[in-house]
């Protein structure tokens, strides 16, 4: 990898594609994050205050043995050591999370398609332990699985092909890629993925999280700079920290903040020695799953070219879900895949399988085959899973002779637009871009998190609610993931129930006052205003 050189003034003048924001986008970019209403924020803090006081009371009672302590504590001999469970995360876990824990880790007992079966469970000691009643709740409308194109099926071409490969190869691989785990199926898959993405070469790994966390350390090291988005996924953060490079964070999807960091990096270089950085790597995601926002890829690529840095794009949620033929966020903006240096994605979401991939130039992928920790130490993908990916990818590309794939991509886009429009009309606060199939609905108050999950389950709809460690403490939300397998009737039923629950819990906070996004022309002086 080459050293970074300082870009001279004349070269900046010649790069004329960074003139105006309007010139970079071929389609309107509608993203909105409505501001939290002041009263709601105050009441949320009041609620958290009450819960904190009761948390202190319960901790006091547990310490003085007035109440039985059911959570993990240190042993008697270790009571004088440095305390393990006194920080805020553990306090939150004991006193707030435990009370509403029944909305998470719900056991399902069928394929997670558009409808799912769930095992019913009750708790007699306020969520410390659960017992199964033995009943199975059938046909719950599944609004929580990342099943964007509906390939989580137990019947159909994908399942038959996977069953055939299972009878040929078995389920286990029993080795790593480097040793004896490199099957011909893996080679076939990698060629197919490279063709799907439009890159020279690709490599597939057994686990999506491990793809990020084990490959970023192989690409960057000490003396390199990583510029990562504020709201990046834990796998990217872990990979960045493991690599040992310097990490700087820019505000979420804020190109002025990113440009400021890039300028500072090039002008000042490394902290003490002032040497130029060996590499600058920008880490962004295609769709951010907690916000539902889409990265401003044309601007990121323009910045990357202007300042000669590298781009790592994590398309975990956007591959298969965006773009007219499902090729991801690069196709959605009409850009060329050669502009992105490292295209990473997962097979878990749109392809109904497991694992991750990295695509890029042939030299990069050949380097990763030898130096990536995941390739050397982790078991490779299981053959039936590989076959599921191959069949679903061919279906999306249209190579199986039908146009089922294209129909699904279009159905997902229609479902997204319809669902978002109806929810906005009802008056909920919805975050994110108009075209993203991830729809976060804001709840804010902690009691409503538990109440929403339970009320929706009573009405036979399964949703995912998200609270503190994954989101800022007052911005808890319910996250809907739309699927091409959802028919319009299912969506209408779900919308009717969401409307009812919204009225019951008073969730319709929207005052239709949207915060205008900073879509100003992209000149040198703009970033001064975002300094704080």
């Amino acid at each position: 990898m080459t050293f970074l050189s300082v870009v001279s003034c004349t070269q900046i003048m010649l790069l004329n594609h960074i003139v105006h924001n309007g010139g970079l986008y071929k389609r309107p970019f509608n993203e909105a994050f409505e501001e939290t209403p002041m009263l709601v924020a105050v009441l949320t803090y009041v609620g958290y205050g009450v819960l904190t006081l009761f948390g202190y009371l319960r901790d006091f009672m547990r310490q003085w043995k007035i109440e039985k302590c059911q959570n993990a504590t240190e042993r008697e001999e270790q009571k004088d050591f440095v305390p393990l469970y006194q920080d805020f995360e553990n306090f939150y876990n004991r006193n707030l999370y435990m009370r509403i824990r029944d909305s998470w880790n719900r056991p399902i007992c069928s394929v997670p398609g558009a409808k799912v079966d769930m095992m019913e469970r009750v708790s007699h000691d306020y969520n410390w332990t659960f017992t199964y009643t033995g009943r199975v709740i059938k046909d719950i409308i599944n609004m929580g699985s990342y099943n964007y194109l509906g390939f989580a099926q137990k019947a159909g071409t994908c399942q038959q092909a996977a069953a055939k490969v299972l009878s040929q190869y078995g389920a286990g691989v029993c080795s790593t890629r480097q040793e004896m785990g490199n099957l011909d199926k893996h080679e076939e898959l990698e060629k197919l993925v490279a063709r799907f993405l439009g890159v020279e070469s690709a490599m597939a790994y057994g686990m999506g999280f491990a793809t990020n966390s084990m490959n970023i350390p192989a690409l960057v090291g000490k003396g390199c700079l990583i510029l990562s988005d504020e709201l990046n996924h834990a796998s990217l953060v872990l990979g960045a920290r493991l690599s040992g490079a310097t990490i700087r964070i820019f505000k979420h999807n804020n190109m002025q903040s990113l440009e400021k960091l890039l300028k500072d990096a090039i002008v000042h270089g490394q902290p003490r020695t002032r040497r130029p950085w060996k590499k600058i790597l920008i880490l962004v995601e295609g769709i951010y799953s907690m916000e539902g926002s889409i990265v401003r890829l044309p601007e990121v690529i323009a910045l990357k070219k202007k300042y000669k840095s590298y781009l790592y794009l994590d398309e975990a949620h956007s591959i298969g879900a965006l773009g007219p033929s499902g090729r991801g966020v690069v196709e959605y903006f009409g850009l060329s895949p050669e502009d992105v240096d490292v295209m990473m994605g997962t097979f878990t979401k749109s392809f109904g399988a497991a694992g991750g991939y990295i695509g890029g130039k042939k030299e990069l992928i050949d380097y990763l085959r030898t130096y990536s920790h995941s390739a050397v130490y982790a078991t490779s993908l299981s053959p039936p899973v590989v076959e599921q990916i191959i069949t679903s990818m061919k279906c999306i590309m249209g190579e199986d002779g039908t146009n089922v794939g294209k129909a699904r991509v279009q159905q997902l886009a229609e479902n997204t637009r319809y669902f978002r429009r109806r929810l906005k009309e009802m008056g909920f606060i919805i975050y994110g871009n108009e075209d993203s199939p991830v729809v976060p609905l804001m709840l804010y108050m902690p009691a409503k998190i538990g109440a929403f999950g339970r009320e929706m389950l009573k009405r036979n709809i399964g949703v995912v609610v998200v609270g503190f460690p994954a989101t800022p403490i007052i911005e808890s939300r319910a996250r809907f993931c739309l699927s091409a397998a959802h028919t319009k009737e299912m969506l209408d039923t779900a919308l009717k129930e969401i409307n009812e629950v919204g009225d019951l819990l008073q969730l319709k906070y929207s005052r239709h006052r949207l915060v205008p996004l900073l879509d100003r022309p992209f000149d040198e002086t703009t970033y001064e205003e975002t300094e704080d």
Binding site: G47, R99, Y126, P446, A447
Partner: protein
């Protein structure tokens, strides 16, 4: 029929109160403790308002009417 609607509406208001103050997630004995404290504080606020607000309003009204209306009035009386 109307009584039922009124009762449902009052129950719905109670449910909103439980959700906003997060006593929805508390155990029953904690809820009783919280309700007792809230009702006590609210009763004290109402009593204080009832006892003190009319007197203070009357005094304030006299003070301001003295300033604006009664300039020639002597303050030594």
């Amino acid at each position: 029929m109307d009584i039922k609607r009124v009762k449902d509406y009052i129950y719905w208001l109670y449910y909103q109160y439980l959700l906003i103050t997060c006593s929805y997630v508390l155990e029953p004995w904690e809820q009783s403790m919280f309700h007792t404290i809230t009702v006590t504080v609210f009763a004290m606020v109402v009593y204080t308002a009832y006892v003190f607000v009319p007197i203070h309003v009357r005094l304030a009204f006299e003070f301001f009417s003295q300033i604006f209306g009664g300039q020639p009035e002597s303050t030594v009386s």
